[in-house]
């Protein structure tokens, strides 16, 4: 080592020479009137300038009415006026969802996600994979939800200090530091009503007194020293059917996506294995980092040391060779006549392939054409609502009784003089079937190693409709 310093100095000197930006006159300036009436000089950053550090520079939270209600900067402060570009894009978009996720501005790039009617806008200064930022923002939302139960403007405003502490821990210099909920919870305790009361009385704090240990261990997702009196592990296998059914009732596309959500409350460092009766069904899977990939590849067994608490163990896609059972059918007759200001609406639901299980929590929604003024319908079961502003028809059916099929019949009033709508509305269906995974996936057994006690184990199956659409 000692022999080379002069040599390395020379090479680095050469590099520094080549890295010097060539002199480049700024050719274009322009001014733009920002919203608070100040003139702001804008010019495009020269590509030769030294790359600015920080992946995520700042974060703004914007509510549905366009107010910035929280800002956080991980580097020097970026003026709020950068959000004006976002507002412009928001205005151009007809729907809140239509705001483009990536917006370029002269100096920065804005990458945003919309969740719970809040825009999370990250300010970026230089090249970064956009998915990196998007994934992180979603993680932030998940964390808030995890901490406060809901992720609303009110909840964030009420817990602004916790939010700030969380954001501080999640990013360092714009690069994610701790995003694992188990670690964060050790650093900052989630607020509960009880704790808030205790804190106000005793003056103690939300910040963990102990420093996290998980981050350093080989299992960073699990905190150490977990203790429970009742040791339990619950697994929910939830499958969703995504389908498009065409006018005649035949399936255009249908696929099953599933997840296994777990709630594990076990003492110590348990090592779990979960095996399936029919693992071949799982075509494409993505795992929580705790799952040992090699073991899955070799034996199709999920082997893992679980995080403490709730987590998503696995998401999967059922191979497309398998035929997808469609649990409900829809008989529909929605017509508009030329020249008449009336339309007919007739909808009947019935169970199809449900393997004897009841179809519950059925909710039908449909975006009626713009010309529809009102709907006079009669539901044989459940209640329906029609919003004349958004033209959204929602029918809360509840449980389908195979003996007496639920139906919604009646007429729609159209705007006088308006021409017949071109398209019949699409019908979106939500439903739930308990105690069944529609793909037929079955968990074989769950074993625990590494700990001596006998845990209580539970597995629940459920099928839901995902993006289930019927074209009429």
């Amino acid at each position: 080592m000692l022999m080379f310093p002069s040599d390395s100095l020379i090479t680095s000197f050469v590099y520094s020479m080549s890295a010097l930006p060539p002199f480049k006159p700024v050719t274009s300036y322009w001014f733009r009137l920002s919203q608070n009436g100040q003139n702001e000089l804008l010019c495009f950053p020269s590509p030769a300038s030294p790359p600015p550090a920080a992946m995520i520079h700042s974060l703004f939270l914007i509510n549905a009415s366009g107010d910035i209600f929280l800002e956080k900067h991980w580097k020097s402060v970026v003026s709020r006026s950068v959000c004006d570009y976002f507002f412009e894009a928001q205005e151009r978009a007809s729907e809140p969802e239509n705001v483009p996720p990536v917006i370029p501005t002269p100096h920065h790039y804005l990458i945003s996600v919309l969740r719970h009617r809040i825009y999370f806008v990250a300010v970026i200064q230089s090249e970064v994979p956009p998915l990196f930022v998007i994934e992180f923002l979603h993680r932030v939302v998940d964390t808030f939800q995890d901490y406060f139960g809901v992720c609303t403007e009110a909840a964030i405003k009420d817990n602004v200090v916790v939010v700030y502490e969380l954001l501080e821990e999640m990013l360092d210099n714009g690069f994610p530091l701790a995003t694992e909920s188990n670690i964060l919870k050790e650093l900052i305790k989630p607020p509960t009503i009880l704790r808030t009361m205790v804190n106000t009385i005793t003056g103690s704090t939300n910040v963990g007194e102990q420093l996290p240990t998980g981050q350093l261990s080989v299992v960073p997702w699990r905190r150490t020293g977990v203790k429970y009196t009742n040791n339990e592990a619950y697994f929910d296998v939830v499958e969703e059917i995504d389908a498009i059914i065409d006018k005649s009732g035949s399936t255009i596309t249908a696929e099953i996506q599933g997840v296994i959500d777990a709630c594990v409350k076990l003492t110590g460092m348990p090592d779990l294995t979960l095996s399936f009766m029919n693992p071949r069904l799982l075509d494409d899977v993505s795992f929580h980092p705790c799952v040992r990939f090699k073991r899955w590849e070799a034996e199709r067994i999920l082997s893992f040391i679980p995080p403490d608490g709730n987590f998503r163990l696995l998401s999967y896609h059922v191979s497309s060779q398998n035929l997808v059972a469609i649990p409900v059918y829809v008989k529909h007759n929605i017509t508009f006549r030329e020249g008449s200001s009336q339309g007919r609406f007739d909808l009947t639901l019935g169970p199809k392939q449900t393997m004897g299980k009841a179809v519950e929590a059925v909710l039908v929604s449909s975006q009626l054409p713009r010309g529809v003024l009102n709907a006079n319908l009669n539901a044989s079961q459940g209640t329906y609502t029609f919003d004349p502003v958004t033209k959204m028809l929602t029918w809360d059916v509840g449980k389908i009784n195979p003996q007496k099929l639920p139906s919604l019949k009646g007429s729609m009033n159209l705007q006088a003089g308006a021409s017949k709508p071109d398209e019949n509305p699409t019908i979106n269906i939500q439903l739930k079937i308990q105690q069944m995974a529609i793909s037929g996936l079955k968990v074989n057994r769950l074993d625990m190693y590494g700990e001596k006690y006998k845990p209580f184990k539970g597995i629940k199956y459920m099928t839901k409709a995902g993006k289930f659409q019927v074209r009429t």
Binding site: F13, S16, P52, R80, V160, N173, F175, D284, D396
Partner: protein, 885 residues
């Protein structure tokens, strides 16, 4: 549930209207709407100052919480700086953290005062607790005050050599912060980066690569030696680090390896062609493929990134996908398809980015996504930009086989209530029609039907697309032009009328009878038409005047007269221009002669191509790709080098077995050095071998059977022991930390000659303390069988919590696979453990020429020990291998 939804939507609509009016005053409204904001903030701040300066911890904390609230709202709280900074050394962790938040936010503005806090951090940097050290460095480096640059530099250098990987990680982050504060420190920082790149901790790997990318992305030479390590660590690095490392390695690989793509083969993958390819073609391809041998390091990268396709983190999956796209041989890229399609189940924003990337990919390689075509079907609930991207992909995927399915799907889209999307669908149909000649007519007919649609945008778009289609094949479609002329009376959309008029004029020779009639009708309704229609009427009149002046002269003059007195100056202008151009008079100059050539010049047909056609110039998954323009700081992906640069730069010298743990036995016989492993000079090696074996054969005669034989074999060094294998090292658990009361032990066989005694097998044991107290006097206790010959490690006096230490032992298994049982003791406890060797671990790889082998065999000595017998067999295998080579 439904009730609230509806209510929410209503709210939204109302707000939208409001917003338009009040947008200019949003910021004002925003501040006025804060319920907490007092009438005068000055008063409030006085209040806070008092609380901060009070003696009560709870009051201070309350004040700090309010201050953070102010910062969160973007209010200025800088005047509280002196009062806040006093609390920087507080014992209360939450208070301290909030003060840190404040400091980082305002230090830049109040540099002098910020310096007051520096000494606190400097002190904290020396704390025994690693988390306190790390957080001190974090805050210190976040304070953007140029005057403390030397202090930061020093702190970073120290932290980079810290025992704790967590602190080292923090120092990697601090490097970027210092660099952005003072770019002049670059050289020194690069040295730190170089050092940290060598770090073996997964915790550090991601962060240091971020620093590398930030500070010196061009110093690819720093990566060479760490390349294999990074590849191997990748799976265990935290997910955010994985993204950065993968993208850096993608860039690295493109400069270091040769292209795995067949030379001369077109970029476009053509399924059809491959299927029907003649034998000769196939053969030539095969020879080309044989000529290319992938660098094992290139393969290593591909192999080690593949499992990450199963990551739950969409950014990781995308980065692996782009790595395969840019680096993998063509046929392997398909691996990523399934995972990319899986990402489409994720949030809207994720879908948006993934679909953009798929759109680019699907242009070049239809086959990749064709099986998943149905995943791109549009749902009515998708956002408009998602819909148009899916449409784009479906259009890219269209071929002769699936076009009918796709067109059927498009038919439903055309009827969508989202008119922008319907218009985009019509454009897509147009593209399909030009790309696939079989369906051109069907598409055209379908589009003609759409002309009677009620919606303005749909009709206008159809006319425009038909116009483009007709322009590409003008010879065949006079029927459609005629049809459009017939429809003309019913079409009310001015854009569509104008387009039809343009078509009439352009192809007036194909509809010689109809065109003048259309002009006649237009003359009648001219005054009532929209401007754009009027302009096209004038155009039509001019063109007809030139081709068919007999029938249209009067009509043209009439229209030109109407135009002359039109209200719109555009039309008056155009009329004047056309009149001068086509009607010859004494004033019109030379231009008049060329009127025909000007107006009836053949116009280039518009090209209907994908908006994603040229996006592949950017690396997939990048911001630049998403924006389709170069983002600042974007690093170009270089082309493959024609000739691979030196591969040996990535070789890492094998470190001699950790000698620091066995200093007493450091003087054991030096074995042949390992660096010969990579040496190219085979001859020299062979010479040495024969020499040494000759020299040794005489000395070996004294050896006498049994286990001792092994020792002899080593001592004479007649067998050149080949370098330790670079296969995966398997680690076994010796003691679980639960049974070991916090002490855990793992072991592996380093597969290197044991330094303690030649007959022993080397074992490396990693002891770590998982408890929260320190363990003392760790040593090896009783062993069974008692005769077991173990070379123990020196007693470890003290092992701190979370610390771990690696020690080496030597165990004489007496050439059997019988387990060695012994006790691992701490000051208080003893735990029985056992090490059971696999047969393979007892063997020592060595190379031996065939002659030497037969000679050794002839002397019969070599076969006396079963171990050596096995060794000989291995040697024979090696010989065979040598001969064949």
């Amino acid at each position: 549930n439904s009730g609230t939804k509806i209510h929410g939507n209503r709210c939204d609509g109302g707000i939208k209207c409001l917003k338009q009016a009040s947008n200019a005053t949003t910021t004002f409204l925003c501040s006025a709407a804060q319920p907490l904001s007092p009438p005068s903030s000055v008063l409030r701040n006085e209040d806070l100052k008092e609380m901060l300066e009070s003696n009560k911890e709870s009051l201070k904390l309350e004040a700090m919480k309010r201050v953070v609230g102010l910062i969160a709202k973007g209010k200025n709280a800088s005047e509280l700086f002196p009062a806040v900074v006093k609390n920087v050394a507080s014992k209360n962790i939450e208070l301290k953290k909030l003060v840190y938040v404040y400091l980082v936010r305002y230090a830049e503005e109040q540099q002098d005062l910020a310096l007051l806090s520096i000494s606190t951090f400097q002190r904290a940097l020396k704390e025994p607790n690693q988390f306190i050290r790390a957080s001190a460095l974090r805050v210190l480096s976040s304070i953007r005050v140029p005057i403390i640059v030397p202090i930061m530099m020093l702190a970073i250098k120290e932290a980079a050599a810290d025992m704790s990987p967590y602190v080292r990680k923090t120092s990697a982050h601090a490097i970027q912060k210092l660099y952005s504060l003072d770019p002049d420190q670059k050289e020194q920082l690069i040295e730190v980066i170089e050092k940290l790149l060598k770090d073996k901790s997964t915790l550090v790997a991601g962060s240091v690569v971020v620093a590398f990318e930030e500070v010196c992305p061009d110093r690819i030479d720093l990566i060479h030696k760490n390349y294999r390590k990074l590849c191997n660590l990748l799976v265990d690095v935290e997910e955010w680090g994985q993204v950065v490392i993968i993208s850096m390695l993608t860039r690295y690989a493109r400069t270091q390896f040769t292209s795995p793509w067949k030379e001369g083969a077109s970029f476009e993958e053509n399924n059809e062609k491959a299927f029907y390819a003649s034998d000769s073609e196939e053969k030539s391809e095969r020879t080309e493929a044989e000529a290319y041998v992938m660098d094992p390091d290139h393969r290593l990268l591909l192999r080690n990134t593949k499992p990450l396709l199963q990551s739950r983190n969409t950014a990781v999956v995308m980065s692996v996908a782009q790595l395969y796209w840019h680096l993998a041989p063509r046929h392997e890229v398909n691996l990523v398809t399934k995972s990319l399609v899986r990402l489409l189940r994720s949030h809207r924003e994720v879908q948006y980015i993934v679909l953009q990337n798929i759109a680019t990919m699907s242009i070049q390689r239809k086959g990749m996504f064709e099986p998943y075509m149905k995943s791109f079907y549009v749902r009515s609930t998708d956002a408009t930009h998602i819909k148009t991207l899916k449409l784009e992909i479906l259009t890219n995927l269209a071929n002769e086989a699936n076009i009918s399915t796709i067109l059927r799907e498009f038919q439903t889209y055309v009827k969508s209530q989202d008119k922008a999307f319907a218009a985009a669908t019509i454009q897509a149909i147009g593209r399909c029609a030009t790309n696939i000649s079989e369906v051109t007519d069907t598409c055209l007919n379908g589009l003609v039907l759409l002309l009677s649609n009620r919606d303005e945008t749909v009709v206008a778009e159809s006319v425009v697309v038909i116009k483009k289609l007709l322009q590409t094949q003008p010879t065949q479609h006079s029927e459609i032009i005629k049809h459009m002329a017939k429809l003309f009376d019913n079409i009310t959309v001015s854009m569509a009328r104008a387009s039809i008029l343009w078509l009439m004029g352009e192809y007036c020779d194909r509809v010689p009878k109809i065109a003048p009639d259309v002009l006649r009708k237009m003359a009648k309704s001219f005054t009532a038409e929209e401007d754009i229609v009027k302009l096209q009427t004038v155009n039509l009149a001019a063109k007809l005047y030139l081709t068919n002046s007999k029938q249209t002269k009067l009509l043209t003059q009439y229209i030109l007269n109407l135009g002359k007195y039109d209200q719109s100056y555009d039309i008056r202008d155009r009329t004047r221009f056309i009149r001068q151009l086509i009607v010859p008079n004494e004033k019109s100059g030379a231009l008049n002669k060329y009127a025909r050539r000007i107006l009836l010049a053949p116009k280039p047909a518009p090209v209907l191509e994908s908006a994603f056609k040229d996006r592949d110039r950017y690396q997939l998954g990048t911001l630049s790709h998403s924006l389709n323009s170069k983002a600042s700081g974007y690093q170009e992906l270089s082309d493959w080098p024609a000739v691979a640069p030196d591969q040996s730069v990535r070789n890492v010298e094998v470190v001699e077995p950790v000698q620091e743990w066995a200093p007493s036995v450091g003087k054991t016989k030096k074995l042949k050095s390992d660096d010969k492993f990579y040496s190219d000079n085979e001859e020299e090696k062979a010479e040495e071998e024969s020499e040494s074996s000759e020299g040794s054969s005489s000395s070996s005669s004294s050896s006498s059977g049994g286990g001792k034989m092994v020792a002899d074999v080593y001592s004479r060094a007649s067998f050149q022991v080949t370098a330790p294998s670079f296969g995966p090292v398997k680690t076994y658990e010796l003691l679980h930390h639960m049974t070991g009361k916090g002490l855990s032990a793992k072991y592996h066989f380093p597969r290197q000659p044991c330094l303690h005694q030649p007959g022993m097998v080397a074992v490396q044991v990693t002891l770590s303390n998982g408890s929260d107290r320190s363990l003392e006097e760790i040593h090896v206790g009783d062993r069974s069988p008692a005769s077991l010959n173990i070379h123990c490690f020196n007693t470890i006096e003290r092992l701190e919590p979370e610390a771990s230490v690696t020690v080496s032992m030597g165990i004489d298994f007496s050439d059997s696979t019988q387990a060695a049982n012994f006790q691992l003791c701490t000051k208080e406890d003893g735990f029985s453990v056992s090490i059971q060797p696999a047969v393979g671990e007892l063997l020592m790889p060595s190379s031996l020429s065939e002659q030497d082998f037969s000679r050794e065999q002839g002397e019969k000595k070599i076969l006396q020990a079963p171990l050596v017998q096995l060794q000989a067999k291995c040697a024979l295998l090696l010989c065979v291998f040598n001969i064949r080579r």
